[in-house]
Amino acid sequence: MTDASLVVTDLHVEFSGFVAVGGVSFDAHPGEVRFLIGPNGAGKTTCIDAITGLAAATGSARLGEQELLGRPVHKIVRLGVGRTFQTASVFNELSVLQNLDIAAGRHRHWAALLRTRRDVDPSIVQALEETGLADELATPAGILSHGQKQWLEIAMLLVQDAKVLLLDEPVAGMSQDERTATGELLQRVAAKRIVLVVEHDMDFMRRFATRVTVLHQGKVLSHGTVAEVQADPRVQEVYLGTAGAATTAAMSVVPDVSAVGLASSPAVSAVGLAGSPQTAAGTQQQED
């Protein structure tokens, strides 16, 4: 589907003086399931944020000939870069079909938006089959299981015809069977697209990764095949030397800026009346 590769060169992201990503380079090609791993605070998610335009960054991230950095989010998406989020983010009030229909919509003429949907887009049918959600067509996305929501997100990326799929912890919270199904799904999808997965789950990584990049404290620690990375003593030190950091990552003293939110980064919280709009933003969704 695409021959273009995603090439990230010397990526820098800084939040109010705190360097979250400091010169990261990697690439990803169609046909491989590319993994980005590292302990909490390593800058994995921030990398994805930077590539998708959510966080301001310097350096370069190119998809084929196109520079992605500096463009607004929706323009980057239109170039074929799609992503998922740590917490499944689907439109809970809409049905699975409606979710997918919206995802498929950006290729439509604007006038088509004003018409009622009369049939199901072939690409949606295909994506439903691929992700095993065909039976859930009319189910409101809000009552899907956690795993199904993640698959719905992936299905949305498929119908939106993303050339690059950036997946942020897609198997977190899934059962073993679901993980396997997800991994196999990713392998199928990767045949024609670039798939980049951010993960904590080492087992999942070992089973499905073709190539891996390890980040640590905003820098590339190591990269190569699974075997190569596992053999790297520096990686062992980071993961094993700190006594199984992967499982206790939540307790990590290194603040995971992207997860907690910008406002609580130490540099900022010292300011004045120090209101963090984060609480308000977080609670803004209405119950209904």
Partner: protein
């Protein structure tokens, strides 16, 4: 809620149209027909608020601004029609020799006036919405800013007595596009036009809600960032809803003038804008009929209860806000929906109730 049973809603609109256009003129006295027409004007603005707020999540607290654009466009035309070739009477008072202000001049033309009623809100809401949504102003900020605009416009009109009639407003219209307004037959005609326009507004939002745009709008309301990651610019989605809402408010305002016979800054300021919201919240912000029926109910309450028990009416409106928002965030229509849902599938909870969105938190 988002799944409108297509035929049912269409029958609903049909029945509503029949009541407004067929039954009401036969049963009601001229006075109450006029009042009903007034409620229809508010209902049009309310339908727009339902679109912008209920479906789009934008709490538009300044719809008075757009109501004013339509109303004053119409009122200026009718004033000039009444004044004939001369300068309107109230202007003479402050400066008898000065000519008609330049911005009044084009409103002598009926065609220009009708065009202005449609285009002015589109242009103003378009510019304003573009500026605000591109800067990602939303939530309370958006609400307060729009309300501040309504206050500013009302103050501006109040303070420009010679140009706009000030606090007294514009009134005493004799003609409506060539028809004598005092004639009961003509007043009925104006009412019918208004009611028909309300029905058209309902048909338009019905189509919007059923369309892909409607789904996209709800998606944008619930998870703006997510929509962005599907390649849409949420600003544009919201802009369409905002402009639509403005247009409906403007048409409502325009018809308010011949029906009520007067327009003043108080009808467009903070209190009026909030009262419009009250009806929408009461009826059900996201439902098809809720905003219109809610606005009409509030209007009726003001006419009847406000008459028999004026002190109590203020308490009722206040309590309405509290009780409805606290216990029935989706208004009375949600009670109805819950009732029918419970009958159809007992035990199964509606998706809306269980759904909790985590999206904004999950943005990174």
């Amino acid at each position: 809620m988002t799944k409108l049973r297509p035929r049912l809603s269409l029958f609903g609109i049909g029945a509503f149209a029949l009541l407004l256009l067929g039954v009401a003129p036969l049963l009601l006295t001229d006075h109450w027909l006029g009042n009903l027409g007034k409620y229809c004007c508010w209902a049009m603005a309310a339908v727009g608020i339902g679109l912008a707020w209920g479906r789009g999540g934008m709490l538009v607290m300044g719809q008075g601004v757009f109501f004013a654009l339509g109303a004053y466009s119409m009122a200026m035309h009718l004033t000039l029609e009444t004044a004939g070739d001369g300068v309107p009477g109230f202007m003479v008072l402050y400066d008898p020799l000065a000519p008609l202000p330049a911005f009044w001049e084009p409103f002598r033309s009926a065609a220009f006036t009708l065009l202005a009623i449609v285009l002015l809100p589109v242009i103003v809401a378009g510019l304003l919405g573009y500026a605000l949504f591109k800067r990602r102003v939303k939530g309370a900020y958006f609400a307060i800013l729009t309300q501040a605009l309504a206050v500013a416009l009302a103050t501006l009109i109040s303070s420009t007595i010679r140009e706009t009639g000030g606090d007294t407003g514009l009134s005493d219209f004799k003609y409506f596009f060539g028809f004598v307004l005092d004639d009961p037959a003509n007043r009925k005609l104006v009412y019918l036009i208004t009611a028909a326009l309300l029905v058209v507004c309902l048909l338009v939002v019905r189509q919007l809600y059923r369309s892909r745009f409607g789904e996209l709008l709800v998606a944008t309301r619930d998870a703006e960032e997510r929509v962005r990651f599907l390649g849409y610019d949420p600003a544009n989605v919201k802009l369409v809803a905002f402009v639509g809402a403005a247009l409906m408010a403007s048409i409502g305002g325009a018809m308010f003038v011949p029906i009520v016979g007067i327009i003043t800054p108080a009808e467009i300021g903070a209190a009026a804008s909030i009262l419009m919201i009250a009806g929408v919240a009461f009826g059900g912000r996201a439902s098809l009929f809720g905003p219109a029926l809610g606005a009409m109910a509030v209007g009726w309450g003001q006419s009847s209860l406000g008459s028999t028990w004026p002190d109590g009416w203020t308490y009722i409106i206040g309590a309405l806000f509290i009780v409805v928002i606290l216990f029935l965030p989706n208004g009375l229509s949600s009670v109805l929906a819950r009732f029918t849902a419970a009958r159809r599938s007992p035990g199964e909870q509606p998706a809306a109730a269980t759904a909790t969105l985590q999206l904004e938190e999950a943005k990174s």
